[in-house]
Structures are given as C-alpha cells and as structure tokens.
Amino acid sequence: MSERLSAGADNRVVSRGYVGRWRDIDEAPDLPDAAAFLVADNTEAIRAVWQHVLHADRRETLVAARSRIGAEQEQGFREFGLAVVRPPDVQPALLDRPAEPGRIWLLTSGSTGRPKQVAHTLDSLTTVGTDQPPRTWLCPYATGAYAWWQVVTLSIQVPGQDVVFVEPDEIDAWPALAEQHGVTAASGTPTFWRQAIFRAVDTLSRVPLRQVTLGGEPVDQAILDRLHEVYPDARISWIYASSEAGAAIAVHDGQAGFPTAWLDRETPGRPRLSVQDGELVIASAKAAEGMDAQIHTGDRAEIVGDRVLITGRIASDEINVGGSKASASGVRAVLLAHPAVAWAAVKGRRAPLVGNVVTAQVVLSGDATEADLLAWCNARLPDYSVPRRLRVLPEIPIKESLKSDV
C-alpha cells in the first residue's frame, strides 16, 4: 500500500457495507489505471475513491451509480480510454492510452449545455481546506455527483470529518440512521429537507445537527426559516455549486440569496460573481478544467434589495401564457410562502388559445383548500400567472438526485 495517505485517512466512514476508517478500506485487486467505476452502492464507490486516493499519482477515475449509466454511455467511456469496472468485473478500454494521473471525471447533467464529462482533481473538488470542528456528516447525494464528491473530499482531506452514506432506498429513514451513527452535520437539497420535515419532523429534531447545508436547487427563505425553527442552534448554510463552476458561493447568515456587495468583487482565492442579463455568471479557480473564464450558469439571478436571489433555471422558468411571460419560480415562491404549503412545483402546460397555462402541484403541511391557494395566488400574482390546474399530492416526490426538477 502507498504511504501517501491523505489527511483524513483516520476519519470514520459508514456505509451499508462498511464501517471503519478510510485507511482500512481494502485495496481492490490490480485494476487498469484509467477506469470508470459503475457502482451498485456507496460501499463500492468509497472503495473506488480510496483506490484513487492511494494511487492518485497514476490513477484516472470516474465514479457513477450504475443505475444512471446506459449502455451507450458505457460504450463511450470505453472508447474514451476508460476501463469499465462493475466490481469485480472489468471491461477493458477500447482506446489504448496512458492514464492522466490524478484526473477525476464527473458527469454533469448539463447545466451549461449538453450533458458531458467534466475534469476535476481531488484538489479542485476539495472546497474546504481550513480547520473544521469535528463533525459526522450525512451524505445523501447521488453517488458520483458533484455534491457527493464535496462531502467525500471533505472527509478524505480534513481531519475530524467522519461521513455516513445514505443509499437511495434509505432516504426515508435517514433521520434514524443519522441518530444511530451520531450525525452532527448534513447536506442536502431543499427538496431533501422539505421532505424530511414533512415526513419526520419529530425524529428530525432528535438528530443533534450543528451544521445544516442546502444546495443543488434554488433556496427560498421559507425553507431556511423552517430549518432554523427545527435547529435553532445549528449553522444553516447555503452552497451554490455545480460540476462546471465548482463551489462558488457559501452563505451562512440564514438569509436567502447572497449579499449584492459580493457582486463584481475581486477577492484573491474567491470566485468572481456577476449578474448579466438576469443570469448568474461565475469566474472561478475551482471550476472544472477547460471551462470558459466566465461560466454562464443558466440560473436566473434577481436582485431584491441588498440580496441576489437565485430563483431557478432560465431555460425552464419562463411560461408563455398568451404572450405574457409567467415565471415558474415566481409562482412557486408565492405558493411556498403560504403557511400550509410544504412543497410546490410549477410548470407550463400546453393549452388552446393561449399556448400554455400555469399549473402547479403542491404538498400541504396544514389545512388549505384548492380555493384557498388560488385566492392566495390571485391576491399576489398577475392573472396569467395564477395556476389554472392545481393538484395536491400526498407526499413530496423526490428523485435519486434529491431534486424535484422544480
């Protein structure tokens, strides 16, 4: 075994198939240096990651949940020069080339265009380098996603940062898992947190979280306030990060968005943030390799008072209702502000005469009728933005990405 162990080698790792320190994870048998690990669960994933850490001087690695990879994409990996490893099976690469030492490939869902592989290293994925209070982190993110790597690299690189992985089929039961393993910090999407509060607020309040982190989707004030009610003593952080732009914004004051004072500011080591035509634009040293100096994120940024709010995707936000432009994120924000609404999704739906109408799905945490919600919207939105079809769902739909595509 290599002696170049990382600073977090003694941190504890808990997955469904492994409980122990990073340093005690079994080394895999000899594998090709350049490999895409298509893993069945987090236990296989952490073995692949640790293999990379031990031999970063020669390894090139991609880790992805095998459920997310189709046959065509798998073939693409092999033609790109990566062996495909479905532990313990190995399919050799179809292109013979030397591995790029230290390279880690992430698969992006395509926030800046077509889905593609983006190039990182352990260093570019590590966004917290300073001393941290000892924490046990929950990692519920999809295996191999950028947010998953952020938690993983934090645990590998920073002493005292243990990690507990949650499999997709354990998501509903994570508060019990967290309680069992002494989790004190958790990072999830706003949808993840909404669902947790909706389903198990009593169990949730028994998990003594000191750090609550949200990212991956627009974060509104209502979910921040609700989390503060559940965890009044915890630090509540919002992180804006993507595979392409890296971790660019971290806000810890419990307020939605980030201060306008951060715009167009040059601070050594920090990304430069700007708003161009209503879009968040980032220039960052932590971006993936090969990105433009300025990354157009595709996310809508609105300046409200002294805050910049990230409200949703530009491409999918606008609903053309008979020539009037309704904002899906704006309607969603109004619905979420209703005290009885736990979750909301807003979309356009094709309709005669006006082209599209606004429709909504909601999950309620209190008493409200459809008529109540429509009256609420009527009082706050222009006529064309008021949802014309509104469906109440029994529970919050959630995907493996922990997002709701809202």
């Binding site: 008979g322 309709a351 005669p352 005469l353 109408v357 008529a371 014309r388």
Partner: protein
C-alpha cells in the same frame, strides 16, 4: 376515445366561472364577453376536460374559429374531443 357529454362540459364551464366568482347563464347564446369568460378560462376548461378523460386533446386539429358565445365554447370543446 370516450367523450364528455355537452351537459357535463357545460357544468365544468360553470365551475371555471365559479372559481372566478362568476355565474354561467342558462342560454347557449350568452356572449362570453358579457359573462367574463376569457381565453384563459377557456384554456382551463379544455384542461379540465383532458383531466376528466385522462387523455390529451389534439389542440391543433380543429383550428381556430370565432368563439363568441357559451354555445361556441361547448361546440369547440366537442370538436376537440372528436379530433
């Protein structure tokens, strides 16, 4: 495909108007402009019909025509269902 009878569509039209605090008159000849039934209301009605049928209507097929009265709406929805 199954189609909704005109009476049922008329009653759904009444529900759309009721949600706006308005009433649907009994006469098919009543002008939409007079009763305040707008394009958005018509669209909502079409979607209600879709949801009831659990099937998408082909909005392109019937083509646009002049819709001025309650009866025009009911006829148009009928055409949408037949398309």
């Amino acid at each position: 495909m199954t189609t909704l009878p005109r009476d049922q569509v008329r009653s759904m039209m009444g529900e759309v108007l009721a949600a706006q605090g308005k009433e649907l008159p009994a006469e098919d000849g009543a002008l939409l402009e007079t009763i305040g039934f707008r394009s958005l209301d018509f669209s909502e009605l079409a979607l209600r019909v879709e949801d009831e049928l659990d099937e998408e209507l082909n909005f392109d097929a019937p083509g646009l025509r002049s819709i001025e009265t309650v009866g025009d709406v009911l006829t148009f929805i009928d055409q949408l269902q037949q398309a």
